[in-house]
């Protein structure tokens, strides 16, 4: 019997809303959207946690310019360090940002372990940055955190829309909650919006191509002031709707 599964439930019991950021397709901006959304919700006055579950491509610490040389404190579990006002957890604290090749079962084990030991305590929102695809992390999350509200990210590329539509179909088939879709790198067509209509999910807004974004990586304050940050804040306001900070 795996005692960690029960541990997950206990560790998340005081987290009000859990939002996994998913796409199916890689390179659509999930990490930037996850991180900026977390910072936006913090700006709106909420208690926010950010969990990077993209083990092979962990990059939220780079966006946040978070130091990873020291292990998070432990006290009846692991306490996620506070970075720019949000509680942040990532495998990089333990892998020391070295390449960490993991196969299926190993990914699941690492995910369960991190969820079972991290003490988020009271949070209004836990944002989870997910890897692309319909693999372990997505299936495990559906299994272990059934109350997750999925936020889907796509670009206007037909290649992205095609893959994302399959993800939406999978989530809908399982009756999972979908907050809606955010279109990143919006340019010139309505494929994402049309797909949202076709799949009957909310279109939460578009973010235009932001030429300067790469030069702002590692400077969260500047990201928040950029067009990217401003558009994400509008998305955050739509997600929050009637919620009030604790």
């Amino acid at each position: 019997m795996d005692p960690r599964v029960k541990g997950i439930e206990l560790k998340l019991k005081n987290v009000r809303r859990i939002i996994p950021i998913v796409s199916g397709k890689g390179g659509v901006g999930k990490s930037l959207i996850s991180t900026t959304l977390a910072l936006s919700l913090k700006e709106l006055g909420f208690e926010v946690g950010l969990l990077d579950l993209d083990f092979h491509g962990a990059s939220d610490h780079v966006i946040l310019n978070s130091p990873i040389s020291e292990l998070p404190d432990e006290e009846k579990g692991v306490i996620p360090p506070v970075v720019h006002g949000i509680k942040f957890m990532s495998i990089v604290y333990y892998s020391t940002d070295k390449p960490t090749p993991l196969r299926g079962k190993e990914i699941s084990d690492a995910l369960i372990e991190i969820l079972a030991i991290t003490r988020w305590d009271q949070l209004d929102f836990l944002i989870i940055d997910m890897p692309p695809g319909l693999g372990e992390q997505l299936l495990d999350l559906i299994r272990f955190i059934p109350r997750g509200e999925f936020l889907i990210v796509s670009t206007p590329s037909p290649l992205s829309v095609n893959v994302v539509e399959k993800l939406v179909a999978l989530l809908k088939e399982g009756n999972h909650r979908i907050l809606g879709i955010v279109e990143n790198m919006h340019a010139g067509n309505n494929l994402t919006e049309e797909m949202a209509e076709r799949m009957r999910i909310k279109y939460l807004g578009e973010i235009g191509v932001c030429d300067e974004i790469d030069s702002l990586i590692g400077e969260p304050e500047s990201i928040m002031l950029s067009d990217f940050g401003k558009n994400l804040k509008k998305v955050a306001e739509r997600i929050v709707s009637g919620d009030r900070p604790r």
Binding site: P3, K6, I91, Y94, K98, E106, D109, E113
Partner: protein, 134 residues
């Protein structure tokens, strides 16, 4: 003391199992401690003893079994143990592995062919091997 988090999971699981089986009491819990995670038995036992108070597991006997870690290379099939990787496993690395055993893949590779594509066959972490309820 992240052992406390593991202990919460163990007691929570045991109580849930007991309830599902309409048990009045949990008599025994056998807990396996994998060598790779290197959980301190004393700390875990202390946390379990605190957490089981005032529950149906309050009188449960706690039995601990150690499981040696065994690694097997998926590339060449070579099998090895912790002792053979002792040199690579510095104190800092052991601490990283203590929290998330999978990061062993960041630090170790097969002693024979050098591949990082290996599996932890045994001795990864903590699990409940056996439980007696009545």
């Amino acid at each position: 003391m992240h052992e406390w988090a593991l202990a919460e999971g163990i007691i929570g699981t045991a109580i849930e199992y007991g309830k599902e089986n309409n048990a009045n009491e949990i008599v025994k819990i056998v807990i396996v401690l994998g060598e790779l995670q290197d959980v301190e038995q004393e700390i875990l036992e202390f946390a379990l003893t605190q957490l089981k108070k005032d529950t149906i597991a309050k009188n449960a006997e706690l039995i601990f079994e150690e499981e040696r870690a065994v690694f097997r290379c998926r590339n060449c099939g070579y099998q090895w143990n912790m002792k053979q990787s002792e040199k690579e496993l510095t104190e800092d690395i052991r601490e990283d592995i203590h929290f998330v055993p999978e990061v062993v893949h960041s630090f170790l590779s097969c002693p024979k062919c050098g591949s990082r594509d290996f599996e932890v066959v045994k001795g990864r972490g903590v699990y409940i091997k056996e439980m007696v309820v009545r």
